[in-house]
Amino acid sequence: MIDPIIGDFIDGLLWTFSVSVFSVGVTWKLAVIIFSKRQTDLSVARDSALAGAVKTVFSRFIADKGTAPHIKLHIIAGYMFHLGLFALLLFAAPHISFLDEYLLGFSWPALPHWAFILAAEIAFLGLLMLWLHRMLSRVSRLISTVDDHVASILTFVVMLTGCLALMESFNELRLLHRFCVELLLIYFPFSSLMHAFTFIPSRAFTGAWFGRRGINS
């Protein structure tokens, strides 16, 4: 049904281009953040900055007691979406065989089919709730940008096309999924999706700053 030229373009040139944009973009953005010039902290260190950084990277996975009761939906839906997506991305059998064949040269055990479906459903429900909350809650709506909506919708479409192509019975569905992934890869470095990488230096920086001052953050 799809012209072989389009198929070859999606599988070949566009794939190479999107992976290049993603790799260079992410590396460049992280380098800018990490190597940006900052004021030297002249205060006497009261405690280890490194310990504070490491601690904060992990402690921020749990919302603080004061805030948690007000953001229950964010916490539950957020974990549902991110854990589900993590499972889909790294433990789906087609993804593992793709990474093995084209990128890494090794594989690991995949999720059974039922677990894949369950992970997908959890991720979909979480993402839907988060995006709708962004649209419906007046505070979330006011602080959301077009980029946030595009990122949410693009992620949703990538997940959906992937699940629709799950049976691998139609090459067209695989190509559609791959095309959406390529759009996401190109969009990724220029969007809020970068938080997938920046959350670590962000938390570490805050943790180091507080840690050096002996503040329990």
Partner: protein
């Protein structure tokens, strides 16, 4: 002069030809003589026909024996399935088409005749809080998943009839395959959303005194005087219970269809399919009405699921008992404050009461 090698007389040629002809005539007569009694009385049955008649089993469900132990594994061909297929193709699809088409037509005619139902005296701009963020999120999750399931289900049920002539077999097969995957994937999400909807809204949807009057008066369409309503009126409560009860029926039958290896036989599967489709058609048709009333049909209704607030005049028109409760408890906020809460107000404006509106039920 060349001498002939063989000298053949005419008599020598005629004699064998005559004998062959004679033999042919005798054989022809004999064969006719053999055929005649066969046509008259003896009929030899195709030995395979009895076998296949037994296999087809006609109207009876004859069960054989087999070493394969599973449900219905001892039934080679189930004639009931033929009846179900005919029912699906000849009746179910036609009924679905007629019902869905008719409801769309009725709504269209109603809208053309009645127009948008406006609030008497117009909207005031003063608002009252009705639905929390979580309740609205839940409503839209359920609505979006329901629409997705309706569209994919529609493709699976009507696709052969409707889409193949337009799209062709190749594109339809792709569409049907992805619809099936999508339908199976989002089905359980619908169930979870439905359960959350049930828990969140059940308390306010229990029928109470006065609801029957609302129903008998057609929600105010019959008679001239105003018909009263609480937080939810009888129509909304009935829609809620329809969604919950038929939704759970669709969910249960969907699970039976989704996991055919849990011991259910063919008849249960066929019955589940029929209930699933009929339930879905009922919900979809009523949802058309719900969508119409929430958007085009009634002024001010859509705001409740968009911002969580409704105009107090809307509340007085449709839910007067609840509106009175809001007035009595000082839960009504002004248009300016509402604009400020939506991020559209004047900078520096100090509200009289920021949280009062959100505590009301």
């Amino acid at each position: 002069m060349i001498k002939p090698i063989f000298r053949i007389k005419i008599e020598q040629l005629v004699r064998p030809v005559f004998l062959i002809l004679l033999l042919f005539v005798i054989l022809l007569q004999n064969s006719h003589a053999i055929d005649t009694p066969q046509q008259q009385g003896i009929s030899i049955k195709n030995p395979g026909s009895d076998l296949w008649r037994e296999v087809r089993q006609r109207d009876t469900a004859i069960q054989g024996t087999t070493q394969i132990k599973s449900v219905d594994s001892n039934v080679l061909i189930n004639p009931q399935a033929d009846r179900w297929t005919r029912f699906r193709v000849d009746k179910l699809i036609n009924i679905g088409f007629i019902v869905l088409g008719s409801v769309i037509g009725v709504i269209l005619v109603f809208f053309l005749l009645r127009g948008r139902v406006k609030i008497e005296g117009g909207l005031s701009g003063n608002m009252v809080f009705r639905f929390h963020d979580f309740e609205r999120v839940l409503h839209w999750v359920l609505a979006l998943v329901f629409l997705f399931l309706a569209l994919t289900g529609f493709t699976l049920l009507f696709g052969r009839t409707l889409f193949i002539p337009i799209l062709g077999h190749d594109i339809f097969s792709l569409l049907a395959s992805s619809s099936k995957e999508g339908h199976n994937l989002f089905g359980p999400i619908f169930m979870v959303s439905l359960l959350m909807m049930f828990i969140s809204f059940v308390k306010r949807n229990i029928y109470e005194k006065g609801d029957l009057t609302w129903l008998l008066r057609g929600g105010g369409m019959i008679g001239k005087s105003h018909v009263t309503g609480g937080f939810f009126n009888m129509g909304e409560k009935s829609w809620y219970w329809l969604v919950i009860l038929i939704g759970f029926a669709i969910s249960a039958t969907g699970l039976i269809l989704l996991f055919p290896s849990f011991g259910q036989g063919r008849i249960i599967m066929e019955l589940s399919h029929v209930i699933h489709v009929f339930g879905a058609i009922i919900l979809i048709t009523v949802s058309f009405g719900h969508m119409y009333l929430g958007t085009l049909g009634t002024e001010g209704t859509g705001e409740s699921m968009k911002t969580g607030y409704v105009d107090i005049k809307w509340a007085e028109a449709h839910h007067d008992r609840w509106a009175k409760h809001c007035h009595d408890n000082n839960l009504v906020i002004t248009a300016d404050e509402y604009a400020r809460l939506q991020g559209k107000g004047k900078v520096g404006y100090e509200p009289v009461s920021t949280t009062a509106g959100e505590s009301g039920k």
